[in-house]
Assembly symmetry: none
Homo-oligomer: 211 residues x 4
DNA sequence: AATGAATGAGAGTTCATTCAT
DNA sequence: TATGAATGAACTCTCATTCAT
């Protein structure tokens, strides 16, 4: 497999010192701020540097190209998201399959809606970036975590776990994203999330044998 | 309801003559071509005009801003998509609910994968466009068509049709898009689509009373 | 002397028919309107034609270049202005010199302030036009008219009439224009106009012998 | 009082280093050169930058818009002009009123005719700029300087100094400008300037009481 | 005679990136 | 090492003018 992050997009140096880490974080935060206030079109290196309180030159020390910055930002976002999903999976280890899907839905919905504008801004920022490797890597982490979780279900046992897993993940993540993007009222969204859980449970019922 | 397309984004003039209509179509096609070959970043007004074989000036006669072009392109895409979905819904009128969801999945998947690169290109093109009004309008057309379809189901009757409908649409469209974006192998994708149908049927079973 | 209006700037055809004259007038008026509402920078041929209710093509029949239009507009303005001054001069024939300067000041001030915005707009429109020939021609008409008038003064007789005349004209027109451009309050302006008359009379007193 | 120069028209950054100051001066001089050789219509940012020997980008660092450049240029011109007039007024402090007007006429005429083409070019450059605030500010500086001067006249004392002052300033500046713009032969112009002085003295005589 | 679609050079402006300080 | 002035290619958009209809 090709490395997820090509050399040209990786930070020039890993931040070894605390100061450097703080700088990088400031740059990330500034990028999000600019994205939110000015939109992806007006996301310029100068603006980000200014907002972050560093000079462009310094920024180029950490991110050799503008695209590297956006790439890193998304990498970080997906990393955190994957970690949260993994945590949920670990936590639901051994629970009933029904509990699992509910927890998964809840986690993903939560992650998206905590800072909805940031979520949206990040989506828009990658428009001209080939982030498929990033996405693929994220998907594999999730796949692996959810597979392990489902395997441990206390009440169900699946013939073709890989397929069931992929179906559930695709459906849940797809539906949640869709609901999120339609900007529905909170209550409406909650209703759909509930129905989504119901649907997943009905599916599990249909494809699993009792353990 | 506010108009879907603000004045600033609507074509300056409707093509009255056949020649003008051909010009507009050439511009649309050129936009897609440039999007495919050069990416959204390199989608420039000059490049589009050149590829379309017209002058920039002419292009600006029909699209007063670059964004208007992208907006119109997406509007057209969503329009065609909505029509196809409506056609499917009409066709499935009176069928069983299970047939309906299969047809819906099939139609949407088909629409996305016929020219997958175009689909992807269009998604990327809207990065700095507020297309939420467009999306909303599309969603309402779909909602209305699928609701009418489900109402006519020969074998099922739903207590809260609106909720069921929205859940199904959100799930199907979300899952299909997600599967599409992961660029799975054909067979894998087909497998998931099948499972998705199964899942929807299980859900329908669970929430409907026999007619 | 070179002709005031070079061939390249003269209307392609003299309006012989009433309809054509109406068209030309509509174009003039439209030019002023656009100048007022959009400024000289946004004074475009298309905009003028549209406002005048004719096509660009038709406009180019009458004015072969954009500069020809502006040139003609200014020519017309100066023509009307010269006529008014000549009328005043004729009217004051045989009056006292004091009356004459008052009438001159009054006429010029009146002409400028009747439609102050139009006056200003016209000034701005000529920025990149060599209108010195136009100005010169206007100046000569005025010179000639005022000289004749002053010659007939009932109470004064000048040794060097040409010099006195040029001094008075230069001073009056310069002062009035200056006062106009400073956009003083009406009363203030009126005060200065009165003082200007006083000044001119004092000058006449100083340089004339009683008749 | 509102600031004379709106933020949008003020230089983006003040030149801090000697090099930057030189750059700004080069840009000013280049603007005048282009104005002289190409006319206001062909005064483009690229041309100015090229002539100044800097890149457009650099120019935009100091002048955020083309209009800002023209505005600054005029501001500078009026500033220098006001300073010269103030110097003359200081120098004539305590002189006779007759001397004063002569000095004023002389100074203004001198300023205009030293580099007549530059003067003309600057006038034309402001066509689509609202420089009334600039003009107003200039006028007030002049008013104040001339008022102080006239107050100190050794031989005259005015009942309504403000009115006399404004009349003199309006007349002198208007007449000088008018004479300048007519491009009279040197001798002719000199003759009129002399008569203008005479006229002003006659006026002063008429409206002042001996001290 | 009148129209207005088409042209395309050229305008103002931005911004990723470099490099002397 | 950090800075931010300088660069200039590339962008979006305009508009005087032409000419097929």
């Amino acid at each position: 497999m090709a490395p997820v992050t090509p050399q040209s997009l990786s930070p020039r140096k890993r931040p070894r010192q605390a100061r450097a880490a703080a700088t990088v974080d400031a740059i990330y935060e500034a990028t999000i701020q600019v994205l939110l206030s000015d939109g992806p079109q007006r996301l310029t290196t100068t603006r980000v540097a200014e907002r972050a309180g560093v000079s462009v030159g310094t920024m180029y020390q950490y991110f050799p190209q503008k695209r590297a910055l956006i790439h890193a930002l998304n990498e970080r976002y997906l990393d955190i998201l994957a970690e949260r999903i993994e945590a949920t999976c670990r936590q639901q280890h051994g629970a009933s399959a029904g509990m699992m899907v509910v927890a998964l839905i809840e986690t993903y919905w939560q992650a998206k809606t905590e800072r909805p504008e940031v979520t949206r801004a990040l989506y828009r920022s990658v428009a001209d970036l080939d982030n498929s490797a990033l996405i693929e890597s994220f998907a594999q982490r999730v796949d692996s975590a959810t597979t392990q979780m489902l395997e441990s279900a206390s009440d169900s046992c699946f013939q073709d776990l890989a397929l069931v897993n992929r179906t559930l993940v695709t459906t849940i993540f797809g539906a949640v994203r869709n609901a999120f993007e339609r900007q529905l009222a909170d209550q409406e969204a909650a209703g759909i999330m509930q129905q989504l859980a119901l649907m997943c449970r009905a599916y599990i019922e249909a494809v699993s044998a009792p353990r």
